[in-house]
């Protein structure tokens, strides 16, 4: 049984699957225009941030159990330096929204996000957090957390496999490595008049 080849608009599927071409893309994005010294400092900072994203212990439903599973023996996210999950939002770098966000929970999630210290990242885990999942039509479910807080990585699945969790973390690492802390900006936007 083979999967049908999915189509992604912006990137070829083969390249999407291949880590090297993703890394190449990241390098290209990083290449232009950074000062040598500041760029190097940036690299160090990004390396530090990328390799130690501590996540908040936050789970609303099913995906939370899989999140626990990646902390445990078989999948062991400690290998990548994601080991520490902080129960206090002040000390967390990343919030993994594991599970459905309902209308009642939405202000609470927003508040948690606001309480976190910069830099902060969000991974939307599972169908519900990405876009409402099986509960899209419900009267009490938010249609994806990106309606409330900015999302860095979307991780589909119901619930996603632990390997997918790790992959999403690695995607987040890539994204963090593209950030510019000192040496300029990623993309210049024209000021709107």
């Amino acid at each position: 049984m083979g999967l049908k080849k999915p189509k992604i608009k912006s990137i070829k599927y083969e390249e999407f699957q291949d880590n090297e071409s993703l890394e190449k893309m990241a390098a290209e994005l990083n290449a232009n225009g950074a000062n040598v010294i500041l760029g190097a400092v940036d690299d160090v900072i990004n390396w530090g941030r990328a390799n130690s994203p501590w996540s908040l212990t936050f789970a609303t439903s099913c995906c939370g159990i899989e999140f626990m599973a990646i902390g445990a023996a078989r999948y062991d996210m400690a290998r990548f330096g994601f080991e520490v999950t902080r129960p206090s939002p002040r000390q967390a770098d990343l919030i993994m929204v594991c599970g459905t966000i309902t209308h009642r929970m939405a202000p609470v999630l927003k508040r948690l996000y606001d309480q976190m210290a910069e830099p902060k990242y969000v991974v939307a885990v599972g169908g519900c957090a990405v876009g409402g999942g099986p509960f899209t039509k419900s009267y009490h479910v938010v249609q994806g957390v990106d309606k409330i807080i900015p999302v860095d990585v979307y991780l589909p699945g119901c619930p996603p496999r632990p390997e997918a969790f790790l992959y999403s973390m690695m995607q987040l690492q890539r994204k963090i490595k593209l950030q510019k802390f000192l040496g300029g900006v990623n993309r210049k936007e024209k000021k709107q008049k």
Partner: protein, 539 residues
């Protein structure tokens, strides 16, 4: 004893409906008296309110009660309703059965029925400023856009009482007064197992009162079901209590099969039973792991997860899913078992028997664990029945409430297993019940695994399933108690009302009683041993 005659004696206006399960329709004026009689009379003694379901009949709003007697084992279904849709009021039974407290609040939340003499008439799941009542058939789905303002927690509630002249008046009750030291545990808290919120009034470290707030993961599954066809509704059951996904789905399939009168092949029954028990072991391992983690021991947690992965592997082999399997379908199971299934299960059981000893060595035998759990959070048998805390919690209090024994289904009447009952009712008993149940589950699996008969794994069903008119109720023993499904059908391809009896809601309702006088740390241990799953409570 003829129940029908008995009911007619007390309330002569009662009518009986015999479509599906027999249901007694009682006028609202005489309902409370009837309920009181049924509960208190020696020969009926319906002391267990299994389920309380709100209903919108179109022209009237009503409530359906499923009663059961723990003494005689007989059951009855009562229905009462009011035609006043503007200002519906019914009499509360929360002084008869404590579990009715939360269930009536749920009905108020969904249907707007206000219960007279209920001490705490607030919404349970939705925000206080929510417009309308979502489960009414005429509810406008767009009337409540996402509201991002922070919730204001009121310390006052209203109670409806009847004064001397027989008029209904409103009274104000106080939850917490200003001088109390109230801390907020949750909704985002590492030990509430998800998004539950306890407002806890403390005196030093000692808990004076706990007020649970639910609804942070209320997804409206029951309402969504009303617009889904029967096979579609199955998908949502797995997401209720994801640690007994298989059993939940089993219950709904069984209900539909019962209503349709479909005969299920024996092979399917075997597979379902084995899967249920594997799921139970899986859930109890997770219980063990999480309890250990709550109490500050991370190592047992990882051990638990290490072994849980082996069960998940077995699941994955056959069903393709790890946590949520989507395996049962109406008329059978989704796919035949994997050729290696029997082998891997047989390999797993002796392995796990040994591992279980290790668990006891590392955790159960620890002095600190005994100190933390023994004599902490005692729930008496009467309270357990009154709150309807089925499952491990009830059995730890000495209430033999195992559905597999009481109302055998699938293969459970043909296998030999013991119902684990402890009498202490404390946290340690709750813990031990689950640890011992894993052994029993393994015994059941061992009896079945070698004898799975050949045959079809599925009965061919019609593409569109229409359940005949009537109301039906089935329940299974899920990992954490009696999981019931109530279906009211009008003969369509959609259910008219589908209600799940949550296994966790009675546990949360009982938290205040159990923890009273304990320390904050006890709350964590008690929460761990109660073993609730929040999405199951909020649905």
């Amino acid at each position: 004893m003829d129940l029908k005659k008995r009911i007619l004696e007390i309330a002569p206006e009662t009518q009986f409906v015999e479509q599906g399960d027999i249901k007694a329709i009682v006028p609202s004026s005489s309902f409370y008296a009837l309920a009181k009689k049924l509960k208190e009379d020696e020969d009926t003694s319906f002391d267990f309110l299994l389920s309380l379901t709100g209903m919108d009949f179109g022209d009237s709003l009503g409530v359906i009660y499923h009663l059961e007697s723990t003494k005689y084992g007989h059951t009855c279904v009562l229905q009462t309703s009011t035609t006043n849709r503007e200002n519906p009021e019914l009499y509360s039974v929360c002084d008869l059965w404590k579990t009715a407290n939360f269930n009536e609040r749920e009905v108020y939340d969904f249907f707007g029925i206000r219960f007279i003499n209920h001490p705490d008439m607030r919404r349970l799941f939705l925000r206080d400023e929510w417009n309308g009542y979502p489960f009414r058939k005429d509810y406008d789905m767009d009337s409540n856009p996402l509201n991002m303002t922070n919730e204001v927690t009121e310390d006052k509630t209203t109670e409806l009482t009847i004064d001397a002249e027989g008029n209904v008046i409103e009274k104000e009750n106080t939850l917490f007064d200003d001088k109390e030291y109230v801390i907020n545990i949750g909704p985002q808290h590492p030990s509430t197992h998800g998004v539950l919120r306890f407002r806890t009034s403390l005196q030093g470290e000692i808990i004076k009162k706990i007020e649970p707030y639910c609804g942070y993961i209320h997804r409206g599954i029951e309402k969504m079901n009303e617009n889904l066809t029967y096979p579609q509704t199955l998908a949502l059951t797995d997401r209720l209590d994801y640690l007994s996904a298989h059993q939940n789905r089993h219950a709904l399939c069984m209900l539909i099969e019962k209503a349709l009168g479909v005969e299920i092949p024996e092979r399917v029954q075997y597979i379902r039973t084995i899967m249920d028990e594997l799921q139970r072991i899986d859930s109890h391992i997770l219980f063990y792991s999480c309890l250990a983690m709550d109490m500050g021991a991370i190592t047992p947690f990882t051990y638990g997860f290490r072994d849980r992965e082996m069960i998940l592997d077995i699941f994955e082999q056959t069903t393709g899913g790890r946590l949520i399997q989507n395996y049962n379908v109406v008329g059978g199971v989704q796919a035949d078992i994997h050729p290696d299934f029997v082998n891997s299960v047989k390999k797993f059981i002796p392995y796990f028997r040994n591992i279980l000893k290790e668990y006891h060595d590392i955790f159960t035998g620890n002095v600190i664990v005994h100190q933390r759990l023994k004599g902490v959070g005692v729930l008496s048998k009467e309270d357990a029945i009154s709150f309807g805390t089925t499952g491990g919690t009830g059995r730890a209090s000495g209430w033999a409430c195992d559905t597999r024994k009481r109302k055998p289904y699938a293969m459970y009447d043909k296998v030999d297993f013991k119902e684990i009952v402890y009498t202490e009712g404390d946290s340690f008993a709750r813990y031990m019940v689950r640890m011992d149940e894993m052994l029993e589950s393994m015994k059941i699996i061992e009896q079945l695994i070698d004898n799975i008969p050949e045959g079809a794994y599925q009965v061919k069903m019609k593409p569109i399933i229409k359940v005949p008119e009537g109301s039906y109720f089935t329940s299974v023993e899920s990992s954490r108690g009696e999981f019931g499904v109530f279906l009211e059908s009008k003969g369509d391809k959609y259910p008219y009302r589908l209600k799940y009896r949550s296994t966790g809601l009675p546990l949360v309702a009982a938290v205040d009683t159990i923890t009273k006088g304990g320390k904050i740390a006890d709350l964590i241990a008690i929460g761990g041993t109660l073993d609730y799953v929040i999405p199951d409570i909020d649905r």
